[in-house]
Amino acid sequence: MTALTARGRERASASPRPRAARRAARFKESLVGWGFVAPNLVLMSLFLFIPIVWALILSFQETKGFGDPEWVGAANYAKLLADPVFWQSLANTLVFTVATVPIELAGGLGLAVLLNSVIPARGLFRTIIVLPMVISGVASGMIAVILFYESNGLVNKVLQALGLDAIGWQSQGTPAMVSVVIAAIWLRLGFNMIIYLAGLQSISPELYEAARIDGASKWQQFRSVTVPLVGPSTFFLLIMNVIASFQVFDLIFVMTGGGPGNATSVLVTYAYRNGFQIREQGYGAAIGIVILLITLVFTFIQWKTNRTRDLVE
């Protein structure tokens, strides 16, 4: 799209010059362009592209102690397929994603609709709901640890005051996962709300007027005007939330460390554990490659749909 408009602009401005001069000018512009991109390209090559290739190489190697790495072919990947903890981490990642994303979407849309309507102190409410976005994952995790503390943490004390049993947030697998899910939703609700608010503000009020004249109730208006028209935002958020969920690290690292057992171990924490705690670097790199591939797939979907959206608009 942009390439096309840029070319059009070029053609319009550079008509009567002789060909050689034009070619020289174009060469110069090319040089200038590369010059502008160079600092970023150097940094990205050094600290992103090279590590990606290196990670791929490492994933075919094994590092034993202080010796040189040894080529082991696809042994790390074979190990991966046979490793129950890897599969559990993958399953946990999926469970975490499925548990967080729909609530983030629905909650974000609900809040956006509410905050897009006439209510007092709208700005204040919006500020509060967005606020967790500037709180670090580590600090959030620490607060969650204290709130969900098993012996006499506030959440359990409230549960007991309500006549319910205290829950083993640290000692039992499912509650541990639930506590991380809640913390993650807390952190990300604001982002979903902001994106939906931007989406809502682009819907023409006349559509609601028309629906109202047709006798549509508030709920019908929501279902047949709001939901379809924020579709692009929903899709964008779906992908962003899924990517974020697949990469949840800080919260789990701080809150559960992947435990109890491996109940909250996810791909990124398992990769870290292998790469830096057990120090099986080749194996850690192989898990990293799996994460990389999954991320690329979602990025591709995101890009693909964004492009079609551009063309439609």
């Binding site: 362009g33 490492l58 500020t127 606020l131 204290i146 109730s217 870290y272 830096f276």
Partner: protein
């Protein structure tokens, strides 16, 4: 708005004529509207309360006497306000060093990232050169890759370069980000052609056009980029965790983890340090909310 019209109201309308009917209609809509406002406000206030509560709890624990929040009995505020947790943190760990490290690393990452992203974003939006689309796509494709996917290799690389355990080991990989390029590119695309054309006709070179004509128009963009990059760097955890080894060089998030990993973690002290770590960004957010929200939302449009 459910349009349940009672028999009485129809009768009313017939008696009062068209103008009176409109008045009844208006009154009915007004009162249901007002009820709607009340309900919506209650709902939003409830959510806001739940969202803000964990932050309130951080304050409570930070200013409570040690261990009080874990005593039996439901207590929602400290019995006495105390600064002992802060005193303990300053006494036992090098908080000022950590704070300083976060500031230095944040400042360098931000300055470097913003400069480099502005340049690249301008090139992608406004300059034509061979291979432009190729690099652009490469940047787009790798933008979302988390550090955990490549951290082993990145660690080896940083060690090989001799910057492991130093500021630069955190700063340089931290500045190798593509996110800002896209934000910048979008902004530069929205600048009218005439502005740039006029400068070119005046004989200005591309660098001069960029520095003297385009950049002065980009203050909001620079504000958004600066704030978002600083936020990301300030809160970054995974990479500093890998790249730093000496206690004195820790950033605040790593310092927090250090406090928690001690044999009997003092959660009051941890909350005191959390507050110190969180406060600068909360203040920035309160003062520059518009830019933060714009940045978050922009990342959504594209």
């Amino acid at each position: 708005m459910a349009q349940t019209t009672s028999v009485l109201e129809i009768a009313d309308a017939e008696l009062l004529g068209p103008r009176g009917a409109a008045r009844v209609q208006r009154r009915r809509r007004y009162s249901s509207e007002r009820k709607g406002i009340v309900w919506r406000t209650i709902l939003v206030a409830l959510v806001a309360l739940i969202v803000v509560f964990p932050l309130y709890w951080m304050l409570v624990v930070a200013f409570s006497p040690r261990g009080e929040v874990f005593e039996p009995g439901l207590r929602l505020w400290p019995s006495t306000l105390t600064l002992e947790n802060f005193a303990k943190v300053f006494d036992r760990v090098p908080v000022l060093d950590w704070f300083g490290n976060s500031v230095v690393i944040g400042a360098f990452v931000t300055a470097l990232t913003v400069i480099v992203n502005l340049l690249a974003g301008y090139a992608f939006a406004r300059l034509r050169f061979r291979g432009r689309n190729g690099i652009f796509l490469l940047g787009l494709a790798t933008m979302m890759i988390p550090v955990q996917a490549i951290m082993v290799a990145q660690f080896k690389l940083v060690s090989g370069l001799g910057i492991y355990g130093s500021y630069w080991g955190v700063i340089l990989p931290g500045a190798a980000a593509a996110f800002g390029i896209f934000l910048a590119r979008q902004f530069f695309l929205s600048i009218p052609d005439e502005v740039i054309e006029a400068a070119r006709i005046d004989g200005a070179g591309q660098l001069r056009i960029f520095l003297q004509v385009v950049l002065p128009l980009c203050k909001p963009l620079i504000a958004v980029l600066t704030l978002l990059t600083l936020l990301g760097s300030w809160n970054d955890f995974a990479w500093p965790l890998i790249a730093l080894k000496d206690n004195e060089l820790f950033t605040l998030p790593i310092g927090l983890l250090y406090l928690k990993n001690q044999t009997s973690p003092d959660y009051n002290a941890i909350m005191a340090l959390s507050l110190i770590a969180v406060l600068p960004m909360v203040l920035l957010f309160v003062f520059f909310q518009r830019y933060f929200v714009q940045g978050f939302a922009r990342s959504g449009i594209k």
